[in-house]
Symmetry: C2
Subunit: 238 residues, 2 copies
């Protein structure tokens, strides 16, 4: 979430007013360590994710005095605010999605239901955008939440569950990693077919995913099903 | 340290055969989290630095079975090897330098003398390169170790101790951060003036350092004193 009116004249500056985490996997949280030092922003995450951060002293580089950590209560809408509590004009609702704890934290504690979450974001009175970068399965509750949405950014990690094994890039299935696949009868294309979501955008694509190749049949299939594939620098207007 | 003969034919590959850490500050260790997953390499560091890694479960992304952690004993030369123990043809000597614990770990434990280290690296029978990215002061022992060296890469963080305060970029002095300055009677240029080091290269320059501006008087001063300024992609032949 960017600051709507960044202060001017500062020698050092970052427009980032708040950060919302959807999980504690390393690809979600390592970026916190390369943000500008001594920059104030508000950090929102589930209790489960905040517990992972608290268990790793290195995240102390985000000084508590500058970077307040705010726990998201599932299903409870919150008005996003910057570090000083100034509202950003965005309403956020977090909700649990099927997932798993981060790989590096597996086995260290009982699974928590809020390890992976989805986000619903909207500006005052405007349409909602859903952000769900990791999701292990479509549930009835999720289906109803997404029905008719203006825009959904959704887990596009793998085309098929055994993709990494087939191309020799790894030993894990998508299910083992907490991701549903795009294809197949239980896949994302099928799950969204009758949901009436206006814009559907695949995000978080693994580099083994053939959908990334714009001349592949898999890319053609997602386009034909009404999906877009996210790219760096993409801007979305609702 | 790169693998001399990378294996061929792998779908995924990294030429990195070993990594040697000179400290546990976030700018030294956060990069470990963005290395290719499931890639085997050997990780060398002081006991103090390995203790910081062990205290942060997130570094479990480097699986112990793939990334052995090897403690460096100060002043004890070691033949660098990859994860499987295959020698890389490089001899390494680690030695303590004046420094401090990482900012995020300050106050949590007694200071350890090996929080900041320097490295001496050489190929069989060849000249030595010294790598010292952080150093709070020149000591008599360090002076004698460096005398007549073929090449020294040295802490060039700040031009002057109060540089960050003067330009409004921060509240800390160089000494507070564990860095000696380039200029001044106790500075790096003065300390190396009579050491007879063949190549002297400034590294780890802060973005407030006027030496980075090639048309600055400070840049001219370091060049006149026989120093080079490191740049991305630099190759050094001894």
């Amino acid at each position: 979430m960017l600051h709507p009116r960044p202060p001017r004249g500062a020698v050092r500056h970052s427009p980032i007013a708040s950060v919302v985490l959807t999980g504690a996997e390393v690809d979600s949280i390592a970026g916190l360590l390369v943000l500008r030092e001594q920059h104030a922003f508000a950090l929102y995450a589930s209790q489960a994710t905040l517990a992972v951060l608290a268990g790793n002293p290195i995240f102390g580089v985000l000084r508590p005095a500058l970077v307040p950590r705010r726990a998201l209560t599932m299903e409870m809408p919150v008005e996003l605010a910057d570090a000083e509590g100034v509202p950003l004009g965005l309403r956020l609702r977090a909700f649990p999605v099927p997932g798993k704890p981060p790989l590096f934290a597996e086995g260290t504690k009982p699974d928590d239901p809020d390890q992976a979450i989805g986000l619903q974001v909207s500006a005052a009175g405007g349409p909602a955008l859903f952000f769900i970068p990791g999701c292990a399965a479509m549930t009835p509750a999720l289906r109803e939440a997404l029905r008719g949405a203006a825009c959904v950014l959704f887990d596009g990690t793998l085309w098929r569950d055994d993709e990494m094994l087939r191309c020799g890039a790894g030993t894990k299935t998508g299910q083992r990693m907490g991701h549903m696949s795009i294809s197949g009868p239980e896949g994302t294309l099928a799950a969204f077919a009758d949901l009436g979501v206006r814009r559907r955008i695949l995000i978080h694509l693994n580099n083994t995913n053939p959908v990334l190749l714009t001349d592949s049949p898999e890319h053609a299939a997602v386009r034909a099903a009404g999906w877009e594939v996210a790219e760096d620098g993409m801007e979305i207007r609702l």
